[in-house]
């Protein structure tokens, strides 16, 4: 479709205004984090602070009761990195098994995987809590990390879709050359599914970084809190009035997500388009 020049100008003006409207709240959050405390709400419509107030970042970063945001960020990184490694590695193995080997019960396990993907998590949240309590895992990172080492249905599905585009002749050729199935996975398939693994890793990063309900349930001492849970503390009790600090830390918590988005945009768009993954 091609447009005449006046039409094109009108198109860009209208779509541009709508795009600005969409990201205005995010810009407002970032701008408010740089405003002096008394200005945040008195001139809320404005994106421009009268002077740049970096003190918000200092006061926010101090955290709560002696635990600073460096601890919260460190906790988030530990949880995110370990659970992402586990999720991607195990999902790749399972995806290969379901897509490229024939075994008894394969159809059943594929169906089980799709069913798990659709299962509302609320159904397992109570019994999982009971189970992890019996394991003695409460107040530790284990409930937030260990389950991810057993494959994530969304990633298994995504990687399977990708493996299916690799011609089966490659497997056959490797087999003739004396490769076992393990060799086929390691030497043939693994080097070719890099993009699917990256896409899975990015989504895992987002979901673990944003996860709120699991840390809320399993962690109770602030020195173990990830950033998502720590932000909630700004809404509690005595810290209630540090608006600037709250806006500053909220902005800071979004920074890694936005940076990853701009670096890996291509993978994200392809990942969503091919599987309908929710980002």
């Amino acid at each position: 479709m091609t447009m005449s020049t006046p039409k094109r100008v009108l198109y860009h003006v209208l779509v541009g205004i709508f795009a600005l409207f969409m990201i205005y709240p995010i810009l407002w959050l970032a701008a408010s984090s740089l405003k002096p405390n008394d200005e945040i709400f008195s001139t809320a419509y404005s994106l421009i602070p009268s002077r740049l107030e970096f003190a918000n970042y200092v006061s926010g970063f101090k955290g709560f009761g002696g635990t600073t945001f460096s601890t919260f960020f460190k906790n988030s990184f530990i949880i995110v990195v370990l659970s992402t490694i586990g999720a991607v590695a195990s999902s790749a193995l399972v995806a290969f098994g379901l897509a490229r080997t024939k075994f008894f019960g394969q159809k059943f396990w594929f169906a089980a995987m799709m069913a798990t993907m659709m299962l509302p998590q609320d159904v397992v949240i109570v019994p999982q809590y009971v189970m992890f309590a019996k394991f003695g895992w409460l107040s530790s990172f284990k409930p937030l990390i260990v389950p991810h080492f057993f494959g994530t249905p969304f990633f298994i599905f995504l990687i399977m879709q990708f493996i299916r585009t690799i011609p089966g002749e490659l497997d056959e050729a490797a087999k003739i050359d004396g490769c076992s199935k393990y060799g086929v996975f390691y030497r043939v398939v693994l080097p070719l599914i890099g993009p699917a693994l990256i896409t899975s890793a990015i989504f895992s990063f987002y979901w673990r970084w944003d996860d709120f309900i699991n840390p809320l349930i399993y962690l109770n001492s602030p020195d173990k809190f990830p950033v998502s849970l720590a932000l909630k503390l700004f809404l509690d009790g005595e810290s209630l009035n540090n608006w600037g600090g709250m806006f500053a830390m909220a902005t800071l918590s979004l920074l890694p997500v936005v940076i990853v988005f701009f670096i890996f945009q291509k993978y994200i768009v392809e990942g969503i388009s091919t599987t309908g993954l929710k980002g």
């Binding site: 091609t2 198109y11 779509v15 541009g16 709508f18 969409m22 709240p25 995010i26 407002w28 959050l29 709400f41 008195s42 809320a44 419509y45 195990s90 193995l93 399972v94 290969f96 098994g97 379901l98 024939k102 075994f103 394969q106 396990w109 995987m113 798990t116 659709m118 299962l119 509302p120 609320d122 159904v123 949240i125 109570v126 019994p127 999982q128 009971v130 057993f150 249905p153 298994i156 199935k181 393990y182 944003d210 709120f212 309900i213 998502s228 932000l231 700004f234 809404l235 909220a250 902005t251 918590s253 979004l254 936005v258 768009v269 969503i272 388009s273 309908g276 993954l277 929710k278 980002g279």
Partner: protein, 299 residues
């Protein structure tokens, strides 16, 4: 060793073993024990006592909060899912033109759905709709006096959550964009020759061709809308207020399980939710034979 390697059944299970184990331990066993707890008075401290159907009776006969929670949740799902999909389709069609700036616009529209589930955005939303927030500040600027919090007002609180969900139409939009790119151009050209106007082209070509993608999105978005937790928790500070107007079902379940430690009752709540979501999914799929158009070879 050679024989073992050649046994493909074994190889298959070696590769899928993480999921097989994970499914048994972290999904199947919890789902079944949740069903068992739902018939008991389990409270985490004492051994569960069998109650039969009492928890379910209590839900429908005695619990007066649950009616409110159902009403709020259904309003939320029935408003936010269609709004999200309509916006997604509308913006995808607008962006489906050949212009260099599309990538930039696409990022701008997608960014909200990327960060939308975070605590930071829920906090941001709470401040935007607060009594001195961004929305009221703009209204006052154009001369409309506004000083009440949209979040504290029982008649608007839920709609701020629906607005937050609609704001995140970006991921569906990207899926629709990919779908639109796959519709052959000559379909539209042929329709143009036949004199079909834009509205008819939309209803006769675009919508039927996208219907499988719409079905997929509708299903997943409905399930995830039912499970919305973080924004309701943050905006209402974990209470579901004002007047239980933001007491989404997940939040109610969370409060029963982890504030009151009524694990048995919370499990019954979870199972009713599973049945409702399962029923709705089935309904969407059953009805889909009427409105989803699958392209067959040679069509």
């Amino acid at each position: 060793m050679k024989r073992l390697r050649d046994n493909e059944h074994l190889t298959g299970y070696v590769f899928t073993s993480p999921f097989v184990l994970g499914f048994l331990i972290f999904t199947l066993y919890p789902v079944l024990s949740s069903l068992y707890y739902s018939f008991t008075d389990y409270n985490l401290m004492e051994a569960p006592n069998w109650l039969g159907l009492d928890n379910y009776k209590r839900m429908f006969m005695e619990d007066d909060k649950i009616g409110k929670s159902f009403q709020v949740t259904f309003t939320y799902v029935l408003a936010s899912v269609p709004l999200r999909l309509i916006f997604a389709l509308f913006v995808a069609m607008i962006l489906n033109v050949a212009t260099k700036a599309v990538g930039l616009y696409r990022s701008a529209f997608y960014l909200p759905s990327l960060i939308g589930g975070s605590v930071a955005v829920s906090i941001m939303w709470q401040q935007i709709f607060g009594d001195q927030g961004l929305v009221n500040s703009f209204l006052n600027l154009i001369g409309i006096h506004a000083s009440t919090s949209w979040i504290g007002n029982p008649s608007t609180a839920l709609w701020t959550l629906i607005a937050l969900s609609t704001w995140q139409f970006g991921s569906s939009m990207i899926i629709f964009l990919a779908g639109l790119k796959n519709i052959p151009k000559d379909y539209y050209e042929a329709a143009g020759v036949d004199g079909a106007n834009a509205v008819r082209r939309f209803f006769n070509i675009t919508l039927p061709m996208l219907s499988p993608i719409i079905l997929f999105n509708l299903t997943l978005q409905t399930i995830s809308a039912f499970m919305t937790f973080t924004p309701a928790y943050i905006i209402s500070r974990g209470e579901g207020g004002p007047l239980d107007q933001t007491l989404l079902y997940s939040l109610y379940l969370y409060r029963k399980a982890f504030s009151h430690f009524e694990m048995g009752y919370a499990s019954a709540l979870a199972w009713v939710m599973l049945l409702i979501v399962g029923f709705l999914t089935l309904l969407i799929f059953k009805s889909s034979t009427r409105w989803v158009h699958y392209e067959t070879k040679g069509d």
